[in-house]
Symmetry: C2
Subunit: 355 residues, 2 copies
Amino acid sequence: MSLIYFTPGPSELYPSYRKHLLMAMDLQLGSINHRSDSFRKIYKYTDEQLRLLMNIPDTHQIYFAASATEIWEKLISNCVELESFHLTNGSFSNKFFDFAKLLKKSPKQYQVAEGEGFDVHSIEIPESSELICTTLNETSTGVRMLENDLKFLKQKYPQKLLCSDLVSIAPYANIDFSVVDSVFFSVQKAFGMPPGLGVWIANKACLDKSSQLHAKNIHIGAHHTLQSFYTNYLKFETPSTPNVMAIYILGKIAADMNQYGIQQIRDDIHKKSDLIYSFAEGHPDFHPFVRLTEHRSHTVAVLNTIHPAKQTIEKLQEKGFMIGSGYGVNKHNQIRIANFPSTSFVDLQKMLHGL
Amino acid sequence: MSLIYFTPGPSELYPSYRKHLLMAMDLQLGSINHRSDSFRKIYKYTDEQLRLLMNIPDTHQIYFAASATEIWEKLISNCVELESFHLTNGSFSNKFFDFAKLLKKSPKQYQVAEGEGFDVHSIEIPESSELICTTLNETSTGVRMLENDLKFLKQKYPQKLLCSDLVSIAPYANIDFSVVDSVFFSVQKAFGMPPGLGVWIANKACLDKSSQLHAKNIHIGAHHTLQSFYTNYLKFETPSTPNVMAIYILGKIAADMNQYGIQQIRDDIHKKSDLIYSFAEGHPDFHPFVRLTEHRSHTVAVLNTIHPAKQTIEKLQEKGFMIGSGYGVNKHNQIRIANFPSTSFVDLQKMLHGL
């Protein structure tokens, strides 16, 4: 039986995914050379559609890596000499912090409990921190930051680089690129594609920092350095053979989203998000994990559940819906519901009815 | 018009690729969780089929990365403290060497001219070199090493790690895994898949070396370290969300190849290879670039051409065939013809007839 996936990624494929995949096959895109005009046109098209969708100005370049996890490593390696500063409140923001330690930096963190959000006004970041690392939507706990938090941080610390992990929130997040130096995401969340592609958006300040580190003989990596990305980007090429089919399909899905309208996508998500949280607040068996409504994610809702999560998940699966379990220590007592553009209000109503 | 791709990668898709892709879609593999039993079964199946196809013993683990280029970086980072030793004779073996420099190691190389092969008996490798890096099939020049060369190197230098880049030659190469510590390849060459997946095969000696470097506080990376791969491999999982669809399809294509028979695949390649080189030797406009027949690759034939390569390529394209240009400085005066399992003897005959 076919299922509708409300899992927080990999997730339900975007309705037009299959159509674009078949077209990519008909165009033999799995065989084309990545140093050909055919590929350059694909890169350029996807670049244009993403810029339109996410309002990305030409101060920032768009690069294609394999995953957001890979980008964690490359961003730290290329933009931090000694110290990054991390806002952490869950498994993924903490892994980003851990990566900095594994990469032999001396990262610092401002940590709040899982399920809590940040009051950015109360965060003091040391002079020595070079890069502020934020996670706009902590997928493990369903806590969001506000786009305005990024603005506040950049205005308070204009000399530092500021990045934001947009996994599970792009393209819903309405980012002001004048206040962030780099953002990144993977496509298996709200873009409704299978995993295998990460998107890294970075400006000249990141590139310059990478060049400075390289000049100082600091290890910035060999594969997927910002220099190698940038040099190739100028020709709409990639440093090595990329996931060409996924880059093509991402462009087409971004175009579909542009046609539908990003504001409509956001409105849909708000409407569905209201439905999930009001359902949970009115149901004896579920309760939103995140206490303060302003910290509750619109794209990944995490609910405490009285019954074992496994039982709830299996019950729904029999009815044709797949939702996620809690993450880590909350695997058994929480469920996670993705609220991405690929699933409709009606699908969500049916799924919640089955809970 | 649909083309038959004889390009040295990305290349013609394996005949069953489309069928497996559609099945992957029907199974909704683009949406499944990579920490689920569904995914673990896929990983296990692909692992089993690759082991059968390439005769990989359980001394070696099979990991999935994004590309062979990524694996260059990870292999050097995880298995070299100070010095790797590279056999170089073309663009790709040289890039592998360059990666070691970018990663702040002090690599040494034994270099021969492009188009030349190696007499491994004459190579002296310093005591200080920790990892011997070979490229079994130099895709830029169509020069091969022999599987026996690996045996010779390992017997002469049993204390050193030995790795071989099998890009554009796996699964044709008949590797004795008792003499190599690590091999790797990407799937867009002889496996006939679109790009987006790299396969890294490594044994415990590589893992131990990585652990030693980590214990010495040496930078081995954060994403896709051998430890993170190995720990997850024990559960048939991956460190982060991988290209699930490609892992599934690789297993299915390996199974198809197993059913057809690896010896039959090798025989086909030999027969087609003989056809290409005898054609070139009998044709006034083309000549094999590699002088010694024993150094000529069976899977990527490089031919000098009297006419500009572009002209030859465009002529063939009008007839429904795509071949590759020369690489780098030889872009205009050479053509490259891939001889992978995806194209038949009859296709090859027709293509050569059109030259």
